[in-house]
């Protein structure tokens, strides 16, 4: 039976056929349309606020479940390489209540917090296997005792505060510096003390005068007044003088080296009297 249908395509069918042969339209059908459908379905679904809230709640819940798995929990803190007092300090400032998730720990912040302690020079923080928060800190080594208006302070080689000190005698092994602003020049002070050499046993400490220059204070109330510029050379000269002429053993109150070209010796009261006596006797002798 032959089909009685008109073999000619209808106008609409013809146009559709031509449209389907258009490359741009075919590309649109293949890529554009599926994307459009998926996006529009997604947009329609997300247009309801309750559904969005539901999804975000669920996401938070799943995230929390994962974070709180035992593999990610931190149970204890280990503080290594520091003395017990510093370790106690670190524990007290961090004040963490274990167990907690490692996702909640901000290691950089913990490290910064630990390094803010005066006694700690640097610290590294890591989470070790077995849920241990390990803090490796290196302590500052006190190199100097600084006496100022507030009391005694221990300083390290860079002049950074280490801790307070009750009694000078507690750390009699460390040199003493005195005066406001002295802590800012700890390296220079250390150099000066290191230079003292032969007079070292006699050095009581360094005095910062007017935040400007150093005085080396010796026992028997003797002072070496150093200039603002280049105090090290000046001290070397003084030591050389002492070695040559045994200057400091004599009865003088101070060696004024503030002007290096014109050092001045200040005698003690007794010495002046003695010198006056000698002069008088000599005058008597000449008069005689």
């Amino acid at each position: 039976m032959r089909s009685l249908r008109d073999p000619a395509p209808s106008r609409l069918a013809y146009r559709m056929n031509r449209l389907m042969l258009t490359p741009r339209f075919r590309t649109f059908l293949r890529f554009g349309l599926p994307v459009l459908i998926v996006v529009s379905i997604g947009a329609f679904w997300a247009s309801d606020a309750d559904r969005r809230l539901d999804v975000s709640d669920r996401v938070v819940e799943i995230k929390r479940q994962i974070e709180e798995r035992p593999e990610f929990m931190v149970h204890m803190m280990a503080v290594d390489d520091v003395s017990d007092t510093v370790a106690a300090d670190i524990r007290s400032i961090l004040a963490m209540d274990f167990p907690m998730s490692s996702f909640d720990l901000d290691l950089d912040a913990i490290r910064a917090e630990v390094e803010e302690l005066d006694a700690v020079a640097s610290a590294s923080v890591q989470i070790r296997g077995g849920g241990i928060l390990s803090i490796n800190a290196s302590e500052r080594v006190p190199a100097m005792v600084w006496r100022n208006a507030d009391g005694l302070t221990l300083l390290d080689r860079d002049g950074h505060r280490v801790s307070a000190l009750n009694m000078r005698t507690d750390r009699a092994d460390l040199p003493l510096i005195v005066g406001a602003g002295a802590n800012e020049l700890v390296p220079e002070a250390l150099d000066l003390i290191g230079l003292s050499g032969s007079i070292a046993p006699r050095v009581r400490g360094l005095l910062r005068v007017g935040e400007r220059r150093w005085d080396v204070v010796l026992d028997r109330e003797q002072r070496i007044q150093l200039p603002e510029a280049d105090p090290i050379t000046a001290l070397k000269k003084v030591i050389a003088l002492d070695a040559a002429q045994d200057l400091l053993a004599r009865d003088i109150a101070a060696i004024d080296f503030r002007n290096p070209r014109r050092p001045v010796l200040r005698l003690t009261k007794g010495a002046i009297d003695a010198m006056n006596d000698i002069e008088l006797t000599e005058t008597k002798d000449t008069l005689r």
Binding site: A8, Y14, N17, L21, P23
Partner: protein, 444 residues
């Protein structure tokens, strides 16, 4: 005249656009079938450019990527008589060809077999302004041709310069650059019925296709069926179509005459249908399977089952001898050929140096035509098939597709037409007005 320039130039621009896009459809709207070819133009053909292989008359530049044929509907004598039906048939053919090519075509070049084409020979003479003939002079010569009054309801389909003469020298194909005083040109103009052309254009527009060219089917079948020598030396191409028989005469590779006889294969079918009292489809089947024009003794003994579906057993079981069938067909074929002879005589075909006649079209496949035709048309006759073009399917290499294949040559290498030259300046009203204004401004 300006109108013609505009519309034809628009078609040329459309053709260029199609070439740029690379795909163009060719549509042969005939009486019995509508053929649609889809060409793809690309510069890279894969053929090596060596000395032996030239441009191959431009054929190497295109490839047929889609071909479809459908039975024509609503076309009689090459003219659309039922526009809706014709449009449907065109849609069928175009859609099938597009499906084969898997590409969408927007531009179409169509050919027109009906519309009672009439040929005119025009002549024009012009004085050459400068020493050397330039393009402007050629345009002036073409414009100086006095156009005959071809009637209000007719339109120019082709207007091709055929010959140029400079002073005493005639037979120039390209006078540009030559030195002379007086330039004369001969032009061949072909007009067709406006209504027929408009109907076809309307059908194509209804199919969302842009018209990129329109050609006479007699002309394009001559382009494909005649070999180059025949076109050069003078020959006639007779396209025995379904409803019309196209006739074109070529010399020096130019068409100088075209005509159309409103008789064709459908008339033979109708004769059989009437003579044997069978339906048209049965008659068509008998014609194509058993038809012929020269009877032999064997044909008296060969019985043909007529068949049929009328339901009358006696009626459907009749037989005829082949001789009887030939007896019905032959007078009609002779009538067509005699009509062709008359037209050729009227056109002065006997004055051509070579008088080769090439029969093509579906009707040329009737067995025995090669023995009948020489008796009427003269001895130098051959049955021509269209040129072979790249990618053409086997099914459409037959003689019936001569005009469809010819359209592909027309699309790739159109001959110069009148409107391919610039309009001469002084004929352009707009510009001459501008010049007048300038003259006034300069002198007053």
């Amino acid at each position: 005249m300006t109108d013609l320039y505009e519309s034809q130039r628009a078609m040329r621009a459309m053709r260029r656009a199609a070439m740029q896009r690379g795909v163009i459809a060719l549509l042969d709207v005939g009486t019995s079938k509508i053929a649609c070819l889809i060409l793809r133009f690309d510069s890279d053909t894969g053929l090596p450019e060596t000395e032996g292989i030239g441009a191959m008359a431009g054929q190497s530049r295109f490839r047929v990527i889609g071909a479809a044929t459908t039975r024509s509907r609503g076309v009689e004598l090459g003219e659309s008589c039922a526009i809706q039906e014709t449009e449907r048939a065109i849609r069928t053919a175009v859609q099938a060809a597009q499906k084969m090519a898997n590409v969408r075509v927007d531009h179409v070049i169509a050919c027109l077999s009906g519309g009672q084409p009439r040929s005119y020979g025009l002549a024009g003479t012009v004085r050459v302004n400068s020493e050397v003939v330039n393009e402007q002079d050629v345009a002036c010569a073409l414009a100086s041709c006095d156009v005959p009054d071809y009637g209000m309801d007719r339109d120019i389909l082709h207007a091709q310069p055929v010959n140029f003469a400079l002073d005493h020298r005639s037979g120039l194909t390209d006078p540009r650059g030559q030195i002379g005083q007086r330039l004369a040109c001969d032009m061949h103009m072909l007009t067709v019925d406006t209504a027929v052309m408009q109907n076809l254009i309307y059908c194509l527009k209804r199919c969302d296709l842009e018209l990129a060219g329109l050609a006479s089917s007699a002309y394009v079948s001559g382009m494909s069926a005649l070999v180059e020598d025949e076109q050069e030396l003078g020959s006639a191409c007779i396209d025995l179509g379904g409803g019309t028989t196209g006739l074109s005469i070529f010399i020096k590779k130019h068409m100088i005459y075209a005509d159309c006889i409103r008789l064709g294969g459908e008339h033979i079918t109708q004769d059989i249908s009437k003579g044997l009292q069978v339906s048209t489809s049965v008659a068509e089947r008998m014609k194509t399977f058993h038809g012929g024009v020269v009877a032999t003794g064997m044909d008296d003994r060969e019985l043909i089952e007529i068949g049929g579906e009328t339901g009358d057993w006696e009626h459907d079981r009749r037989t005829v001898t082949r001789a009887e069938l030939i007896g019905i067909m032959r007078p009609r074929v002779e009538e067509i050929l005699e009509e062709v002879r008359k037209r050729l005589d009227a056109a002065g075909f006997e004055h051509l140096p070579s008088q080769q006649i090439v029969l093509t079209g579906g009707g040329s496949q009737i067995p025995g035509l090669d023995r009948l035709a020489p008796k009427i048309l003269g001895q130098s006759i051959r049955i021509g098939r269209p040129l072979r073009v790249q990618g053409l399917p086997q099914a459409v290499t037959g003689a019936a597709f001569a005009s469809a294949v010819g359209l592909s040559l027309f699309a790739s290498h159109p001959q110069d037409e009148w409107w391919d030259f610039e309009v001469p300046t002084d004929r352009n009203a707009h510009r001459s007005f501008k010049r007048a204004v300038r003259w006034f401004r300069d002198n007053w």
